[in-house]
């Protein structure tokens, strides 16, 4: 074009090129979006499923493992010694500082998502150097409050949304 027009002024043709290009991009993006979005979890998966768990059968010092959203939830009934252990370490220099109080609704009951915050394996309860959880995949140790103490995991075990419906019933989700 510079052969025929010796200045750099935009021409009507340039305008047409840019408009056509812009329409093309918007058009392609709007067609591409459904193709990409189909990868995302659909409504049936996303619908936050709620489960109710009867916890009356859990003895102090033991735990129950239930499935929620395809992931395990540990519901742990802690003994007084275990609670004392967890609170004793509140002020240590933890990798992800959190007080035990902030992680429970009732001190006796600890409810955590049983998914290692490193790469998603399921930690084994009552194992590891802190007697809480130990992840066999890459060696993360969690304490009795589900806090990360040692190993590659960056954060504490996640606390799912839950509430006590009654003394013997927990609603998770």
């Amino acid at each position: 074009m510079s052969d025929t027009l010796d200045d750099d002024k935009p021409t009507r043709r340039d305008f047409l090129y840019i408009t056509t290009g812009a329409f093309g991009v918007v058009g392609a993006a709007s067609v591409a979006w459904p193709l990409i979005d189909q990868l995302n979890p659909d409504a049936s998966v996303k619908a936050v499923s709620t489960i109710e768990v009867d916890i009356s059968s859990i003895e102090p010092g033991s735990f129950l493992k239930v499935a929620w959203r395809g992931k395990p939830i540990y519901i742990r009934r802690r003994t007084n010694e275990e609670i004392a252990d967890a609170e004793k370490d509140d002020n240590l220099n933890l990798p992800d500082p959190q007080k035990d109080m902030e992680r429970v609704q009732k001190k006796e009951w600890l409810v955590v998502v049983g998914v290692c915050t490193h790469l998603g394996c399921i930690p084994i309860a009552n194992q590891g150097e802190y007697e809480g959880w130990f992840c066999p995949c890459h060696g993360s140790h969690y304490d009795i409050s589900g806090r990360i103490r040692k190993g590659p995991a960056p954060t504490n075990l996640e606390i799912p949304p839950y509430e006590f419906v009654s003394d013997s019933l927990i609603k998770i989700g």
């Binding site: 995302n40 979890p41 590659p152």
Partner: protein, 412 residues
């Protein structure tokens, strides 16, 4: 590559075809008569072996897909159905599963060959980069394929690897959910992996064609690393290298058949014969052997994001190899110091592979850190610096007299 040879159609029919679709001309000039350096050793047969590996995987894979059901309810059982009921199903599946291992074995030899003889150097950078893309696609394809039997290792391997993406800041979590199609590895994940596992080999096939196309511009590198200077340096691909390639492939098949018929599960994990259970992680998650070195690098670092970046960096650095190595001399034969670092690098990769299968504690953790450091140092320090200071050995004048008069030249 310029060649003196030109295809001449011999009769009316081939003349007619040649002016419409020059297929015979192409085959003749690029396969049968293609001028190939006459000093190629057996390390140069792995290109052909790899092509055969790809073809084998595609054929057996298409057959397996006729009997496999990509659903979390049926996948595990359908694989057992293939193993027990389908006529020769056991054979086809063992070829496919061991074929993946043989494919990686061949590609490692192929890559280490290129590394030693400087096959990535000017003017072959694009060939090398296309090769790296093929390698990356192979890893992704193999990983997805390993998920399909829906055993415990399938499930937890997939969980760990997809969670690697979650380490990325900001977009990590939503991207993970997008890849999974949910909150955990489940039916949507299995279905899309099946779809992509079927697709990717054909993409690989396409990139292989580009790889060969790029190869046919400058022609093959060779053990002395000198460029072809004329007809005296080459022979026709057929029959010289077709025979050599087929012989090497036959030997390769012996090893392949040993695994298929005598030790079909040697390279797998017993845990993958237990159906996937989202509630129980196996005590010891190990990826397939060909991914172990990268797994060792991932676990060598205490920081989650840094480990992931380092692991991807270990593959990414390969793409820059043509510009990291500053030596003008291609072949390692004439680089006395490079040879030591090269051998050390091969050993380093083997140790990394060993460490990837160990629990990352104590001495293993320490060793994986040392070997990770050397892995990167080889590319980022040794190759850039060595090329500038190393004193090369005397080189032959050309390819054709390199084999005949190696002693004479060295004596000069």
């Amino acid at each position: 590559m310029d060649t003196d040879y030109k295809y001449e159609p011999k009769n009316g029919l081939t003349r007619w075809l040649d002016s419409r679709l020059p297929l015979m001309r192409f085959t003749s000039e690029h396969v049968l008569q293609f001028p190939t350096p006459k000093n190629l050793n057996y390390f140069w047969t792995f290109g052909f072996i790899l092509t055969m590996c790809l073809v084998t995987q595609i054929i057996t894979g298409i057959i397996l897909a006729m009997h496999y059901a990509p659903s979390t309810l049926l996948a595990f059982d359908s694989v057992e159905h293939i193993m027990r009921n389908v006529n020769y199903g056991w054979l086809i599946r063992y070829i496919h599963s061991n074929g993946a291992s043989m494919f990686f074995l061949a590609v490692f030899i192929h890559m280490f060959r290129g590394l030693y003889y400087g096959s990535y150097k000017e003017p072959r950078e694009v060939i090398w980069i296309l090769g790296c893309i093929i390698y990356l696609l192979m890893i992704v394809t193999a990983f997805m394929g390993y998920v399909l039997p829906w055993g415990q290792m399938s499930f937890w391997g997939a969980t760990v690897i997809i969670n690697l993406v979650g380490t990325l800041p900001l977009i990590g979590e939503s991207l993970t959910q997008m890849l999974l199609g949910g909150f955990a590895v489940d039916n949507p994940t299995l279905n899309r992996f099946f779809s992509l596992h079927y697709l990717l080999p054909f993409i690989i096939f396409g990139v292989v064609l580009l790889h060969i196309w790029a190869l046919h511009v400058p022609g093959n590198n060779n053990p002395v690393g000198l460029s072809v200077q004329g007809k005296q340096d080459t022979v026709a691909f057929h029959p010289y290298y077709t025979v050599k390639d087929f012989f090497a492939y036959t030997v390769f098949l012996l090893l392949f058949c040993y695994f298929i018929f005598y030790n079909p599960n040697a390279l797998g994990h017993a845990d993958n014969y237990i159906e996937a259970d989202a509630m129980v992680t196996p005590a010891h998650i190990v990826p397939e052997w060909y991914l172990l070195p990268f797994y060792a690098i991932l676990r060598a670092v205490p920081d989650k994001l840094a480990g992931v970046l380092l692991m991807f960096g270990a593959i990414a650095v390969l793409f820059f190899l043509p510009w990291l190595d500053t030596a003008k001399v291609r072949s390692g034969r004439y680089r006395p110091i490079f040879r030591y670092f090269y051998v050390l690098f091969v050993i380093d990769c083997l140790i990394l592979g060993y460490l990837g299968a160990q629990v990352p504690e104590g001495i293993y953790l320490f060793l994986s850190r040392v070997t990770t450091i050397y892995y990167f140092a080889f590319f980022l320090l040794v190759l850039p610096i060595l090329g500038r200071i190393e004193k090369m050995k005397p080189m032959p004048i050309g390819i054709s007299n390199s084999e005949l008069s190696r002693d004479m030249v060295a004596a000069e």
